[in-house]
Amino acid sequence: MAEPRTLGALLARAAGFPDTGLRLLDRFEREHWLPWPAIHERARAAAGRIRGAGVAAGERVALVYPTGEGFFDAFFGSLLAGAVPVPLYPPVRLGRLAEYSARTAAMLEAVGTRLVLADPGVRRLLGEAVERARPALGCRTLDELGDGASFEAAVDERALALIQFSSGTTVEPKPVALSQRAVLAQTRILNGLWPPRADGVDSGVSWLPLYHDMGLIGCVLPALERPGTLTLIPPELFVTRPAVWLRTISRHRATLSPAPNFAYSLCVDKIRDEELAGVDLSCWRVALNGAEPVAPRVLRAFCARFARWGFRAEALTPVYGLSEATLAVTFSELGRGFASRRFDRERLAAAAEAREHPDGIELVSVGRPLPGFSLEIRDPEGRALSAGRVGRVQVRGPSLMDGYLGRPEATAEALRDGWLDTGDLGFLHGGELFLTGRAKDVLILRGRCHAPSEVEHAVDAVDGVRTGCTVAVSHLPEGAAGEELLLLLEARRELAAADYPALGAAAARAVRSATGLAPDRVAVLAPGSLPRTSSGKLRRQEALRRWLAGELRPPAPVTPIRLAGAVARSALAMARSRRARGRG
């Protein structure tokens, strides 16, 4: 049989392996077995219904499902129908529905959604988003689509396989369009990293959401391609009971499991010893860590905490990627553990040059380019930089996106001559990539990208803030456990400095309320403090640089102690002037 060239063909092939498939945990940690042959059969039936409803080849079907079998019916059903699935995240629980609706409507519109397929449980909450976006065929559950004969379309490998969003935003959603060819290339590269071994078969465990690239493309699709078995935990179960993740890995002797940095941190903070009775993590060969900057402190804490349960430090594998490259771009060497180096802070900041220094800032390597990928570090004018020089990370490889759907200008900015400008900053050292920051304006918090403009708009509504004069940036402070959200905002001219702390607190509340993100630090600045371009636009990354360099300081807050100091100083000055007068 010819090598499959599409996801549908992969599914048809996997249907011949009844011992492999997906094991789905429900919220009570009960398991439900869904072998690939059953997934294939159900997908064929779903495809018939989707076609019957009026979805043509290449049209977009948005999917709103929690982790569960319904997602796979809709996802593979859309693919077999020849349509393009667009996985979106389900509504948040308790409140904040207005923000969810606005964001979801914007994403539905951005991809020209033909049909929204939703889980019966979340469908009621989608009403407002669907009403705004008005997809031609509305929002339905699969059951409502009526029966159609099972169907399986022939799909070209150049056709789109799926669309994922690089960051969910109401302002400028960027739908990343991935071809079948790109997705299959990425999947095969990943599986090539853990070839079949004499001592057993690799299997995975994931709690990552299925609308997240690391969950769907990084976990489900490689399991489909092998074909192999993957155990899926609902993300909300992980968030409330992170021990379930480790217990599941142990119970199924899983070898592969990825997560963003924050998940490792959450495990250290939340898991109690008694939740891990009988757990043995020695099977966990590859603990991938990606989707957000990797904090060395967290990796060390995780190793120290879970070594007792057999966790092997050499399993920790920091990686780097982005949705525009389908998923992964670089991988640390497997079985080595994480590697970090210390670099001279001054040189990094002032000369954009990486020089090792024993007391310098510790950075974690994210490894080398995957097979088929090349990396180049370039200066702002696009010239290639030599090793050790910090610049924009450019990527070339077999799984780059086709582009942002319907956004030719944004596509032309990101893709040039076959190279993808990642918008990330970093340098090469010993052939490995180290990331130092970002040139692009994006907040990366808990493995997810957010648009700074949404946070900034929330602050604009606060009384006392200069409209349009707030900057939201996130960065990984030295020694911190994860990226922190920093708000820099200018107060209105008439506001007294004594009122700045209250204004900062109000701004933080507004952000939490509107976006669900909690700012870690808020600095209220005097009017005109923030750097702007010649056309008056705020320069977020420059503002962050100045803040970190100590060049952006809030006016000295008037605290009782400082006030006392000021009074004392002025008393001294008075005395001096009296003496001076007396001599004169």
Binding site: R93, L94, L125, G127, V239, T240, R446, R512
Partner: protein
């Protein structure tokens, strides 16, 4: 078995204290998003832990905005 509003409110307060470190006083008119000042991770945790505590499922409830709404939804779930 139906429970009084006060009992349910006390249960929510206990969950909020234990699982998201909420220190304040919970009253029915407080708005979940604006007044409790929880980020989205804590809000999700609160929702799921409340479900676990009362053994109810709230994921189809669209209009829970205040603590009082939450109390009512839980009581409806307990009766259902």
């Amino acid at each position: 078995m139906s429970r009084s509003e006060a009992e349910v409110l006390a249960g929510i307060a206990e969950v909020a204290r234990t699982h998201v470190g909420f220190q304040g006083y919970l009253s029915p008119e407080l708005r979940l998003v604006e007044d409790l000042e929880l980020d989205s991770l804590k809000m999700l945790t609160l929702a799921l832990e409340v479900e676990n505590h009362f053994r109810v499922c709230l994921d189809q409830e669209a209009a829970i905005e205040t603590v009082g709404d939450l109390v009512a939804a839980i009581r409806a779930g307990l009766d259902g």
